[in-house]
Symmetry: C2
Subunit: 354 residues, 2 copies
DNA sequence: TCGCTTGCCGAAACCGGTTTCGGCGCACAA
DNA sequence: TTGTGCGCCGAAACCGGTTTCGGCAAGCGA
C-alpha cells in the first residue's frame, strides 16, 4: 500500500496526496478530508525510509547506552525505555537503541548520524564534562540532556530535582530530631552528585544545621563502597545519627556496616537513600528513599527531543521533575536517650557545629 | 558525502560504485579495490533509509518489550540489549526498540513492519501459545524466538538450556545428600517452566530419586509468592531439605519463610535459584543460582536473525546455550543428624518415595 | 470584456541509493 | 576475416515518498 495506490484510488496524483496528508495550505479542505479518510481506510502508512531520504528525517529518537560502566546498575531501564517509546510513539516516532563501551560511544553516535538512523539523541547519565555534548553541538545534531551538564548553555535538558529531594531529606531528618547528619555521595564525575550534596546542605541550613565536612564521603556507588563509607562514619568520635546517601545501592551497604558497628538501622541510625530501588523495599527495615517516575521521565524526554528536532528553541526546553519520598522504616525518629543503655550513642553529646 | 560524490571522485558512475561496494560479479577486482579505498578515505557511509527504499531492508533488528507484565523483572535488560546491539553492529545493523502493553503488542509489530523500521524481530519471553508467532508467520516476517514455543516447527529459536541446569541442580543436591527435593516454578504460560521442571525430574531420576508431587509448586514469580510457596512446603509433614526455584526472585523470598519456620538457609535448608540475579550475591547466605550470559545470548540472537533475514533456513537456526552454576552458600550439604538437637528435621525420617 | 489575483491541483524534478539492460572493446576460435 | 563470447562499465529506470513550479479555472474589480 503505497502513496501511489492511494492516489489512484482517489484519482489524484501522489504529489497531491502527499501534500494533503502533510497539511499543505494549497490543498482544499474537501480533498484533504477525502484523502485522509482514504488513507485511513486503505491502511496506508508512509514508509519511514522513503520520507527520510527527501526530508532528512527518519522520525526516530536515538539512545546510546554506555556499557562497561562499573556503576551502571539500571533497575529501571525497562521503565525508562517504555517512557521513551511511548512518548515517541505518540508522535509516530520510534526509538533506535545502540550500546557502546564508554570510550567508543562517540563513534557509535557518528555512525547513527551518518546512516541517519536517528534525528536526535537523548543523552542519559550526563557528566559534568561530557564529550558527547561538544560533538553533537558541533555537528548541529539535536539532543536533550537527561541530567545537567557543567555548561548547560545552549542545551535542552531535563532533570530530576535531586537537590530538592535532598533538601527535603534534611528537613525530614532534622524535624525528627537528628542533628548530626552525614552525606555519602556517588561519583563526582556526574552532575547529580554536587547537586544532591548542595541540596542537602541548603536543607540543613534552613533548619539551623550545617554539614560537618567530616561527615561527607564521596565515590560510594555500590554496596561495598557504601558499607566502607558507613563504617568510616560510624568510627568517628562524633558519629552521625543519620546518613543520607546519593544512591540506594550504596545505602543498602550501610545495613551490614551498621550491624557490625553495633548499630541498628531504623533504631539508632537513620538512613535515607535515593533512586527508589525495588531492593530497598525488601531490606530490614525497608529503606527510605526517593522514587523517580522513570516512565514519565522517558516520555517527557521524547517529547522534548521531538520538539527540538522540529525547531523549538533550547531555552523553551528545560524542565525538572520532583522525586517522591518513600517514607520507610530506615528513616526513623531519633531515639530519646535511654538511661538504661550504655551511652555509646548519646545524642546530647552530639550536635556538632550547629 | 553521497555515493555520487564517491563516483565523481573516481570518475565512475554511482551505479558502478554501488555494485563495487556490494560485490557484484561484473566489477573488476581493480575497480572494486579502488572504490572501497576511496569510500573509506572519504568516510562514505550509505544512508540506511536510501537503501531501504529500493532493497526493502533497513538493516535493523526489531525488539518489542512488553510492559505491564507483572513479573517482568529485568535486571539484565541492559546486558541483553548490549548483546543484541553488538551482534547487530558487527554486521552494520542497528536495533529498533519499542514497548507495548501486552494486549497491544501486535499493533506495535504491525506498525514497525508497515513503516519498515525493522527487517525482523527477536521475540523475547515466548509463551507456550504466542499470538506473535502466528502473526509474523502469516505476514512472512522473519523472527527468532528467545525461548521455545509450544509449536516450534518452522521457527528459528535460541534458548538457554534451563532443563539441563535443573538436571544438574538435581545431581548436585542429590550428591550432597539431599533426598527430598522440592520444585517451585514460575508462571505456567511460559515454556521455560515446564522445561525446568522436567529437567529437574530427569536429574532426580538419574540419581534414583523422584519428584514427589506434594513438593511441586507453581506460579511463584516474586518474593511474596516465593515466600508463600516455601512456607507451604515447610509446613508439610515430610518437608523438603532442599528447594529448587525456577526464578531467583522467588528464591529470595524463601529466606524469610525459612527464618519464620525455624530453618536456616544453607544449614538445614538448601536453596538453588535460577537467573544469576545480582541481588542473590548479597543474600545471607549468598544464593546459589544459574547464571545466564545475557550478552552472548543477545549477540547470538542478532546473528541468527540477520542470517534468517538473509535467507537462511530455520532448520539451521536453532541453538541452545548452557547456564553456569554459581555455587554459593545456600546450596549446602545436608547436615548429618545431630542428636543434640530436637528432631524437627531428621533426614532419616524422610526420603520420600525414592 | 479584459486583466489580475487566488485557489487548487497536475507534472515533474528530486532525494540517495539499487538494479537492469545494453553496448563497447577485446580475446579467441572458426 | 568474421563471428562469438565475455569482461566490464555507463545509462537509465526504479524505489516511495516530498517539494517546486507552472497552469487552469473561477472570482473579482475596472
Amino acid at each position: 500500500m503505497t502513496i501511489s495506490d492511494v492516489a489512484a484510488e482517489l484519482g489524484l496524483t501522489k504529489g497531491t496526496v502527499s501534500r494533503a496528508l502533510n497539511d499543505y495550505p494549497d490543498i482544499s479542505e474537501g480533498t484533504r478530508l477525502r484523502t485522509r479518510r482514504a488513507a485511513e481506510r486503505l491502511g496506508y502508512r508512509p514508509l519511514g525510509s522513503a520520507q527520510a531520504i527527501r526530508t532528512g528525517r527518519c522520525r526516530a529518537i536515538g539512545l546510546v547506552l554506555e556499557t562497561d560502566e562499573h556503576d551502571a546498575h539500571r533497575p529501571f531501564l525497562d521503565l525508562f525505555l517504555a517512557g521513551l517509546s511511548d512518548g515517541a510513539a505518540a508522535q509516530g516516532w520510534t526509538l533506535t537503541v545502540a550500546t557502546a563501551p564508554v570510550g567508543a560511544a562517540l563513534e557509535t553516535y557518528q555512525m547513527l548520524i551518518d546512516e541517519r538512523k536517528a534525528d536526535g539523541f537523548v543523552l542519559p547519565r550526563t557528566r559534568l564534562s561530557d564529550p558527547r555534548v561538544a560533538m553533537l553541538r558541533q555537528k548541529e545534531v539535536p539532543f536533550v540532556l537527561f541530567g545537567q551538564h557543567g555548561d548547560p548553555d545552549g542545551c535542552a535538558w531535563f532533570d530530576i530535582d535531586g537537590a530538592d529531594a535532598m533538601r527535603n531529606a534534611a528537613h525530614i531528618l532534622a524535624d525528627r530530631g537528628h542533628e548530626r547528619i552525614a552525606y555519602v555521595g556517588g561519583s563526582r564525575d556526574y552532575a547529580y552528585n554536587g547537586k544532591r550534596e548542595s541540596g542537602l546542605r541548603a536543607g540543613l541550613a534552613e533548619r539551623g544545621l550545617s554539614l560537618d565536612p567530616a561527615l561527607v564521603r564521596h565515590g560510594a556507588n555500590n554496596r561495598e563502597s557504601g558499607e566502607a563509607a558507613t563504617t568510616a562514619l560510624l568510627s568517628l568520635n562524633a558519629p552521625p545519627t543519620a546518613i543520607v546517601f546519593a544512591l540506594d545501592r550504596a545505602a543498602l551497604g550501610a545495613y551490614r556496616a551498621a550491624a557490625q558497628n553495633g548499630r541498628t538501622v531504623g533504631e539508632d541510625l537513620a538512613i535515607i537513600g535515593y533512586d527508589g530501588d525495588p531492593e530497598g523495599a525488601y531490606a530490614e527495615p525497608p529503606l527510605a528513599s526517593w522514587a523517580v517516575n522513570w516512565g514519565r521521565a522517558g516520555s517527557t524526554l521524547s517529547d522534548m527531543l521531538i520538539k527540538r528536532v522540529r525547531g523549538a528553541e533550547v531555552e523553551d526546553l528545560r524542565a525538572t521533575m520532583p522525586a517522591t519520598f518513600l517514607d520507610r522504616g530506615s528513616a526513623s525518629v531519633i531515639p530519646t536517650p535511654d538511661p538504661e543503655r550504655d551511652g555509646a550513642v548519646n545524642p546530647s553529646q552530639l550536635g556538632g557545629d550547629s
